[in-house]
């Protein structure tokens, strides 16, 4: 009887606080816990969310509270190969506009990455509208921290249960769980206080594969930190692709451009055919300048080094490797004379797959010519003492560059050609189209001017 009475007394004295959950994140924050170093999305090299599966994942502790085993399923969602293969949606896409109807549709950019952490190889392919823009195979001395971290930290966090489901959402119509798998307390220069910076992954509720990434600060997504993941898998080394092919391989690529003013009447001879133009004026902007453009593309040879030169270069790279350690875990003593000898062996040393290369001469293709018409204001160049006349691009303007060769037109996206009758408007506001067999690039101070110019182009009389 007394037990029941005591129980009643205690229940009455302090009722159970139903619904109380606490704030674990605040505990972590106040404990000053530093997890693995945070990373940020790189502006050029995409970030991969590689998750290598572990075949059997058991719950480590009976207290885990993730809904429906999300973490376990996320861990088992991808293969367990050593090579990450991921495709991101890039942020350099644009819009294709039909010049007759005005209909618009997006042209997506994509970044495909193959990453082998063991061999330290990265193969990156950038595409626009499916056409390859740039491609590169590299063997960076310092591993891309974002790729290295994602290929290991995400999996480890899922295995250890330190990853957490922090919410749900929808990404491009697909229901997702948002997981935090990495966080760190860092000072923010804005207020000189510590804030929690974290990296989150959205996994599909259906497949549990990553479909998006984002950075957060105190739980709130940062501006422009979201990345859409289109494809993710891990494959064997044999199935991976680390072979760059095609003309758009960026390694060793060289470009030069020159301009000289010409009279309007010379434009046809320079171009080799009748140019297109906007008349003597467009949208109140007078034709102010006509120039001949000369461009050339080339490729710098990569010469492989052998013998002592190569050995010196390898040793120098090892000394310069970040966080390099000798066998007894001390910083390497360094032999500066090795690096000095290596530099004398050749310029622009690089190493890839264990082989050492130096820059050779640039082999230039033949010069290509084009014509550029500038509509707007011209004036004195304030950066020079002499009185001169230059096109004022900080004022309302339209510039139309044209050539018979695609690569001769500035800002033309490599590899991508919009269909006739439409103009591709890039994220930066420039336009690119084909007209009467010519490749035409339009730069203007507003998108409306780009579109009006694209519609108004007509053959120059003559």
């Amino acid at each position: 009887m007394i037990e029941q009475e005591v129980s009643k007394i205690l229940d009455a004295a302090v009722p159970a606080p139903d619904g109380a959950r606490g704030e674990w994140e605040r505990v972590i924050r106040d404990a000053g816990l530093r997890r693995r170093r945070a990373w940020r999305l790189g502006p050029v090299l995409g970030l991969g969310a590689a998750v290598a599966a572990v075949a059997a994942v058991a719950l480590l502790w009976p207290f885990r509270a993730e809904p429906d085993g999300v973490l376990e399923r996320a861990l088992a969602a991808v293969g367990d190969g050593p090579v990450l293969h991921v495709v991101f949606r890039g942020d350099w896409g644009g819009t294709l506009v039909d010049l007759e109807t005005g209909a618009r549709r997006p042209v997506h950019a994509e970044q495909e990455i193959w990453y082998d952490a063991e061999r330290k190889l990265v193969h990156q392919i950038d595409r626009l509208g499916g056409a390859v823009q740039y491609e590169r195979v590299s063997n960076p001395r310092q591993q891309p921290p974002e790729l290295a971290a994602l290929s290991r930290e995400y999996r480890r966090a899922l295995e250890a249960g330190t990853a957490r489901v922090v919410g749900e959402g929808v990404v491009d119509g697909e229901p997702v769980y948002w997981l935090v798998y990495r966080s760190e307390m860092l000072p923010d220069v804005a207020d000189d206080r510590l804030h929690e910076f974290a990296q989150q992954v959205a996994v599909s509720k259906e497949t549990y594969k990553p479909v998006a990434l984002r950075d957060t600060r105190d739980g709130k997504p940062g501006p422009s930190t979201g990345r859409r993941v289109l494809e993710l898998e891990t494959v064997s080394a044999e199935a991976a692709d680390f072979t760059a092919s095609g003309a758009n391989v960026i390694d060793g690529m060289a470009y030069k451009e020159g301009r000289e003013p010409i009279a309007l009447e010379q434009a046809r001879d320079v171009l080799g055919r009748r140019p297109v133009w906007l008349g003597r004026e467009h949208a109140g902007l007078p034709l102010a300048e006509v120039t001949k453009t000369i461009t050339a593309h080339g490729r710098q040879a990569q010469i492989e080094l052998h013998g002592q030169s190569a050995a010196d270069a390898r040793e120098c790279f090892e000394q310069l490797r970040p966080n390099a350690r000798s066998r007894d875990d001390r910083p390497p003593e360094g032999r500066p004379e090795v690096c000095e000898r290596a530099r004398r062996a050749g310029r622009g040393l690089s190493m890839r797959d264990g082989r050492v290369y130096t820059h050779g001469p640039i082999r230039w293709e033949r010069d290509r010519t084009g014509v550029a018409l500038f509509y707007g204001m011209v004036g004195d160049d304030p950066s020079t003492y002499r009185e001169d006349t230059i096109a004022l691009f900080d004022q309302p303007h339209v510039s139309v560059a044209q050539s018979m060769q695609r690569l001769s037109v500035r800002s033309a996206p490599p590899g991508y050609v919009p269909p006739e009758g439409s103009v591709f408007v890039a994220a930066g506001g420039s336009g690119f189209l084909r007209r009467d067999g010519l490749f035409v690039s339009i730069q203007a101070s507003t998108e409306d001017l780009v579109l009006s110019a694209a519609r108004a182009l007509e053959p120059m009389p003559g």
Binding site: E5, V6, I9, L10, L33
Partner: protein, 159 residues
């Protein structure tokens, strides 16, 4: 090991937070203070998780941290003593709640804490012993004494 300990502490926090809060509230006599106590206790546990050698001893270890923290904070606040003095005087006119709290408040600390850990946290004698830093046999005796004291008080009030 440190990562496993952290995961275990987090698991315990998420699974038993309400229970820890209830015991802390009982010891401190104040819900807001109890939240601070629970929070600080887990912060301390995370910082010192390397001291936890045996994962099986996590919960008793955690309770010990919490009870110590709650006692320290209560001593600083001295609120329960005031409440006991006030409610004991108003027991006849303040209704059952004040009366009940007063009954518990006048028990010695060890008896109260043993009661809380037994009834709110549902710990066994071994775990209570680890939490309070006493032997399991002393836990049994303490609980018996606490119950007897409450029964005596109940009988006196009812007269």
């Amino acid at each position: 090991m440190r990562r496993d300990a952290l995961a275990a502490i987090e698991g315990l926090y998420r699974a038993r937070y309400a229970v820890f809060l209830r015991v802390a509230t009982a010891i401190c006599g104040d819900a807001a203070l109890a939240e601070d106590v629970v929070h600080e206790s887990f912060v301390r546990a995370v910082r010192h998780r390397a001291d936890l050698r045996d994962p099986a001893a996590l919960e008793p270890w955690m309770w010990r941290i919490l009870v110590n923290e709650a006692r320290k904070r209560r001593a600083a606040e001295q609120r329960l003593v005031r409440v006991a003095e006030e409610t004991h005087e108003r027991a006849a006119t303040n209704g059952d709640h004040g009366r009940v709290r007063a009954l518990i408040a006048v028990l010695p600390d060890r008896q109260r804490h043993a009661l809380f850990l037994r009834y709110y946290a549902d710990l066994d004698y071994e775990a209570i012993a680890a939490a309070l830093g006493i032997s399991a046999g002393t836990v049994a005796a303490t609980l018996h004494a606490a119950r007897e004291a409450l029964r005596t008080q109940l009988t006196e009030v009812e007269r």
